[in-house]
């Protein structure tokens, strides 16, 4: 078990955003978590990524608790997350974004010896290899056409893809994607699916949160349904989608989202 | 000793309202324009010299000179806002630097006009009030009452009137407020000018208590910013309490500890507040 979530609960004042949720993720699988807007998906993801402490329960990453540990340590341990609304560095180009994200890879490779590269940029032969990897990821994420454009100038789809590219550059063992498909057009979603499949083939474990059930259904090996912060179903995607509770949860809101 | 401390508590509170009125301007300007306007010190100085000029040179009675001084300062504030501050909205560093440039310019202008000889206004309300053994100058008590009224009135206006609520809404969420029909530009200008008017009022009242020199505002505004942060920037009543706390800390601190370190006491207190209650002492009581 790569990640294990045990009885996770998060309350904001009187509001319970996540209620007693437990599940696990094993290496190599794609897990989809879905639920209507406001069902606590993003909060759950932030709890799992260590961005906020839970009120109760544990998150075990490779059998060790990670709650309360700072985000950069969580990322360094191989658990990386993307943002629902793309978070970028406005003044930098696409390629520069990926280079910034190369920091963890460099740290893993050289440790404290990376300080030596301040004196000699080629020390440890790291920069060449990392540059190559950055180019690779830019290509993989279909961003090569806009690699030298500023983050402020690229399309929304490219922004979201850049988020994935940066996360990939961190060499994650488990990649948490927060609504990667929201706001994307059909062609962009297709593109995204292709990229995520490529990733799976490269052995990256994925946990995707989205309310677009169709998209998740095509991609996920396993699905978890969430409603009012509680887990209402878990299993193979098509089974879960047929689960009456899930149907109720969605129909209670808006049918066209399904 | 107890008498000494109680006396300083009172005096600190009075001085604190003076910090508080400028702090209120700092807080309002920050909330609406995202700028910490150090140039409020300049407007305080303008208000002070204007009040002195209207009473001692032009011969107006002081109660008339104060509104005149406030009006003059507000006018200067409007000009400064349209010519300068308008271009630094939500840019903290540029706002800071523009206010510093403005301080350099205005202090020199004041020096040219008023020279470095301190001006001391004739006594508006001489004499003291004795209550339970405490001796307080009448004017200090009057200033205290007036400032308290203005701060509370501002608070009431912000919570009870439409404009006030619009300003509040804007400070919380500018985009939503704009969608709701709040006219951003006008609101910002209005708040900046109101803040300069408050600074002018602070200056005009200051003139009745202390001697005037061109640098008076830039020394004072630092304290006001301290007071504003102490309370938690954005809190109207907090700026009053922040000022009072600062005034009392300095007053009582100077009795027990060396006077030469007086400015440190407030700062150390401030750092402690920022570290352990980063939103300020009165956060959540907006």
């Amino acid at each position: 078990m790569l990640l294990e979530v045990r009885k996770l609960t998060k309350r904001f004042g009187g509001l319970t955003a996540v209620a007693d949720v437990s599940f696990g993720i094993t290496k190599g699988e794609i897990v989809g978590i879905f639920g209507p807007n406001g069902s606590g998906k993003t909060t759950l993801l932030n709890l799992v990524a260590g961005l906020m402490p839970p009120t109760e329960g544990d998150v075990l990453w490779k059998s060790a608790p990670i709650q309360g540990r700072p985000a950069h340590e969580v990322a360094a341990s191989g658990l990386v997350k993307t943002f629902q609304n793309p978070q970028l560095f406005a003044e930098l180009t696409v390629l520069e974004h990926v280079h910034i994200a190369a920091h963890l890879a460099l740290k893993r490779r050289l440790g404290w010896r990376r300080l030596a590269t301040l004196l000699d940029p080629d020390a440890g032969n790291a920069s060449g290899a990392l540059n190559e990897r950055a180019e690779q990821i830019v290509r993989l994420c279909r961003l090569d056409a806009s690699r030298d454009r500023l983050a402020a100038e690229i399309s929304y789809g490219e922004e979201k893809m850049l988020g994935v590219a940066m996360a990939l550059m961190c060499q994650p063992e488990l990649l948490l994607l927060d609504e990667p498909a929201s706001g994307l057009g059909a062609a962009e979603i297709e593109n995204l699916e292709a990229v995520l499949r490529d990733l799976k083939q490269h052995g990256t474990t994925l946990c995707i949160i989205d309310h677009k059930v169709g998209f998740l259904g095509r991609l996920a090996d396993r699905a978890i349904g969430l409603h009012h912060g509680a887990k209402i179903a878990e299993g193979a995607p098509d089974e879960v989608l047929r689960n009456p509770d899930v149907v109720m949860a969605y129909l209670g809101h808006s049918r066209d989202r399904i | 000793m107890g008498q000494l401390i109680l006396g300083q508590l009172l005096n600190g509170a009075i001085l604190g309202t003076l910090y508080g009125i400028i702090a209120l301007g700092v807080t309002l300007t920050f909330g609406i324009t995202g700028i910490v306007n150090f140039a409020l010190g300049v407007f305080m100085m303008l208000g002070a010299y204007a009040a002195w000029y209207f009473t001692d040179v032009a011969g107006l009675p002081y109660p008339l000179a104060v509104p005149c001084a406030v009006a003059a300062t507000a006018l200067a504030g409007l000009v400064a806002d349209q010519a300068l501050f308008r271009f630094t909205r939500n840019n903290l560093v540029n706002g800071l630097l523009v206010s510093i440039g403005m301080i350099a310019v205005m202090e020199s202008v004041a020096l040219l006009i008023f020279t470095s000889t301190p001006k001391e206004m004739h006594r508006v309300l001489p004499g003291v009030i004795e209550v339970a053994g405490f001796v307080l100058p009448k004017m200090k008590v009057a200033v205290f009452g007036l400032l308290l009224t203005v701060i509370l009135a501002t608070y009431a206006a912000l919570t009870r009137t439409w404009i006030g609520r619009a300003a509040y809404a804007y400070a919380q969420n500018p985009e939503a407020a704009a969608l709701m029909g709040v006219r951003t530009e006008r609101l910002q200008t209005g708040v900046v000018v109101y803040s300069t008017a408050l600074a002018g009022l602070g200056g005009a009242l200051y003139a009745s208590l202390y001697s005037l020199e061109p640098t008076l505002g830039s020394l004072f505004v630092l304290k006001a910013v301290e007071a504003a942060i102490l309370a938690g920037i954005g809190s109207v009543l907090g700026s009053l309490f922040g000022g009072v706390i600062l005034g009392i800390t300095e007053g009582v601190g100077s009795i027990y500890l060396p006077l030469a370190f007086r400015d440190v006491y407030g700062l150390v207190f401030l750092v402690a507040i920022l570290l352990f209650k980063p939103a300020g002492l009165f956060a959540g009581r907006k």
């Binding site: - | 020096l111 020279t115 000889t117 202390y210 008076l216 020394l219 007053g251 006077l259």
Partner: protein
Amino acid sequence: MKLKIGLVAAALAAAVGTAQAQDVVKIGQIEAQTGTLATYGWMGHQGANMAISEINAAGGFKVGAKTYKLELISPDTRANPQDALIQLKSMLEQQKAKYVFGPFLTNVFNGIEPYATQNNGKFLLMGGATAIHAQLGTPNRDYLMRTWNWDAGASGFGQLMVDYLKKQGAKKAAMIFQNDAFTKVAVDIYTPIFKQAGIELAVELFEPGTKDFSAPLAKLAAGKPDYLFPGYTDAVLYDIVRQATETGLFKNFFLVRGSMAPGLKNKDLIENYIAYLPKYFEQAEKTEPKVKEFIAKYKAFYKTNDFPYDQAPLCSSSCYDHVYMLVEAMKKAGTVDDVAKVKAALMSTTYNGLWNIRYDATGEAVFDFDVLHMRKGGAISATRVHPK
């Protein structure tokens, strides 16, 4: 790059400029004219500027067969040692000035002192800064003269003032001073003088910029001193005296610097207000024709009706009289270039202008001053003191 060319051009222009003027004696003045500490420098500039214009308007002065005019170079140091050093270098190197007045501020003096000492013998520096006192007469500092009289010593005005205070029957005094360069020295000077006179002295220092003194005043008043000894610039004196009298904490004041105005403003609440003043211009205007003439000339020169009575006494340092005195010395020495001779002449001159100024053996000015004693209601008695 353009900037550097600009700098070079400026340097060249300055060099060319100095080559032409031969019958002009340049006087430098290195004072802070703006900022919180500018009071002394500003008045010094006003006086020197006026004296130089007067001398030039009268056709200059004759040394030997030649007639010279004066030129004043007076940049603003802004109390910044870096600017002051560059300005002094410019005066000596580019303007070839041999006589420099100032500075009054100790931090500025410290900043220019190493360079000035390197140029010992090439010029005279005549300033009022407290820190100059300690360096007078030390090796390689022949260039240094101090234009303000010292508080301590046999002819020190502080000593004479405290003696006067003792005669008033004072037993206990409280000193409240702004924490700055002069104050540190003042505490060191006055503590033994008071002790010797048998007057107990309590001391409180405050940060520059303080306006509300109620806390320290209340604290000092708790020790029940007879006299408050506040210092020392008018900027704080007005507030200290007002706040001390308004609440009835103090009724007696003793000052070694600062003006009479704060006392007069509160004259009905004060018993005694004793002050040292280089000259009480308000009274001297009536009794001394020279002073009357000076005030009239000042008003005409600066086209103002406001004579700065409070600040004019500061003209006793590096100011009006000292320019005339320097010209006298140049005439007496028969040279405008030989700095050593001019200094010797200065040291042996007693100049009789607004003040009677002479230098003691170390090169420190000794001049006559007024001890003023204001009593309740504002009656002032002035005693002119001629130190030994």
